[in-house]
């Protein structure tokens, strides 16, 4: 069973399941009730993103294109590595994985 929790604990057991941590960047926190860290139970990145967008529908257009693919200006890292250098959406997520969503920003002035 997949699940989501919005507690801010770095790692915890929710409903008896080991959870991965997903870090939401500040520009997208308005879609996650201002929550910076979520705990997700899913075994791949694709399922993690599904779970996220089901629970927080406002995130969908920011993370996925019309074809349901992760947008090319949104990078997802598992640990320190870009999922494009791993197995993309099929990248495995294990308990304790830290998943970072990092969209492009262009400010400088």
């Amino acid at each position: 069973m997949e699940g989501i929790s919005t507690t801010n604990h770095n790692f915890s057991l929710v409903n008896g399941l080991n959870m991965a941590i997903i870090i939401i960047p500040t520009p997208l926190r308005k879609f996650t009730n201002n929550t910076a860290k979520l705990e997700i139970h899913a075994d791949t990145i694709a399922k993690t993103v599904d779970e996220l967008t089901v629970n927080f529908p406002g995130l969908k257009k920011h993370l996925l294109d019309d074809k349901g693919q992760i947008r090319s200006f949104v990078n997802i890292f598992v640990g320190n590595d870009d999922i494009r250098n791993l197995q993309q959406g099929a990248t495995e997520v294990t308990s304790g994985s830290v998943i970072s969503i990092v969209p492009a920003i262009a400010g400088g002035s």
Binding site: P27, F73, N80, D82, A104, I105, A106, G107
Partner: protein
């Protein structure tokens, strides 16, 4: 070449704290003096970058900026003070930096970096520091650096977040690192990611991130330490958390992947979709609006900014924030001219397009330049923000 570089007594004294670091020394200081660095944008990031590069003794610093100093810049652009308001930024920057370090040569480009001039400007420099504020210029700087074989020290900020990386860096083994297109192959569509002008930025954030950018420029030139090439640093000021990710080159990079398709600079406004969304809306100038007001002609004035902006300053319009225009469309007249305004004209154009598309309005006019232009031209006594 750097061994030919000599220092005056004053310079040796000034750079003493560099020279006495065993891992840095006179040799690294000579490399700084021999180096030419181009800083693109002298705003939030450019301010600390320029201050630290000038203080550190980079021999030649080029500055590209087409803007003038505005009072809304001073919350973060620490190069400037109230006496510089209205002056070209490149001029004001040189004045400040020359006072800081008279041993440096400055080259000023009081112009916008474009596909037409970028190669010609960048070719004379060793390293580029990109502190621009929009996606088209980010891709322009990146592509020009890759085409010319220059290292691009990149930093970017938004609200509470900062990003830093060193792009297109060739290490001692001759291996070339990734560039911006490896990290973000394409930009977001316009409107999806707000700019700092719309979304804001905490003033101290560019100070932190710009200092890291200056650090990487100095390391790349001096050849000390491990530059942030092939890595991507992000900083979240709210949570005080930072992370460094590994990034790598992509086979499908159109600039220098397996099958390059971009061999010269392109139209970056078009690439970023900026041109495509600009479905024109009818406009009215502040002077023409004033004339309607003076003559007492019938019209409706709508302000689509946020309530807190309305509280700072307003010109008596009905407040209908952009996010609510669809639900409040019933309040907007269809039988007389309706003038819509925001701060500078971007949000009101969006509101007009939305109302025209969804409800078939044909009587909507965008106030050109927004309330700021109206204040400049009609009511200069009002507060600008």
């Amino acid at each position: 070449m750097s061994t030919d570089v000599t220092f005056s007594k004053e310079e040796l004294s000034r750079y003493n704290r560099h020279i006495i670091i065993p891992e840095f020394g006179l040799a690294a200081q000579q490399k700084l003096k021999a180096a030419k660095v181009l800083v693109v944008g002298s705003g939030g990031l450019g301010s600390p970058v320029l201050l630290y590069l000038a203080a550190a003794g980079i021999g030649t610093i080029g500055i590209v900026d087409f803007d003038v100093v505005d009072d809304s810049n001073l919350q973060r652009q620490v190069l400037f003070g109230v006496n510089e308001i209205g002056k070209p930024k490149v001029e004001a920057a040189r004045q400040r930096l020359q006072a800081l370090n008279p041993h440096i040569e400055f080259v000023l480009y009081n112009t916008q970096l474009t596909s037409q001039n970028a190669l010609n400007i960048i070719k004379d420099y060793d390293v580029v520091a990109d502190g621009t504020d929009n996606f088209p210029t980010r891709y322009l700087v990146n592509d020009a650096c890759v085409l010319l074989g220059k290292t691009n020290v990149y930093a970017s900020i938004f609200q509470f977040e900062g990003q830093v990386s060193v792009f297109n860096y060739r290490n001692a083994n001759g291996d070339l690192g990734p560039n911006y297109r490896d990290l973000y192959p394409t930009p977001p569509p316009p409107g999806l990611v707000p700019s700092c002008a719309e979304g804001g930025v905490l003033g101290v954030l560019p100070g932190i991130i710009g200092s890291l950018q200056a650090l990487e420029v100095i390391k790349v030139i001096a050849g000390v330490g491990e530059p942030l090439a092939g890595r991507f640093y992000i900083f979240d000021a709210l949570g005080f958390e930072s992370r460094t990710f590994n990034i790598s080159r992509r086979d499908d990079n159109p600039l220098n992947g397996r099958n390059p398709t971009i061999t010269q600079l392109i139209d970056y406004e078009q690439f970023c979709g900026v041109k495509a969304v600009e479905k024109p809306v009818k406009e009215i100038t502040p002077a023409a609006l004033y004339e309607l007001q003076v003559k007492g002609e019938p019209f409706q004035l709508i302000d689509v900014r946020e309530p807190y902006e309305y509280d700072i300053v307003n010109i008596g319009a009905e407040l209908i924030p952009l996010a609510t225009v669809t639900e409040q469309a019933g309040k907007i007249n269809k039988d007389q001219p309706v003038i819509v305004h925001c701060k500078v004209g971007g949000r009101s154009a969006k509101a007009i397009r939305e109302l025209e598309d969804k409800f078939g309005f044909t009587n909507l006019y965008n106030l050109k330049g927004g309330i700021l232009a109206y204040i400049d031209e009609v009511q200069p006594e009002l507060t600008k923000y």
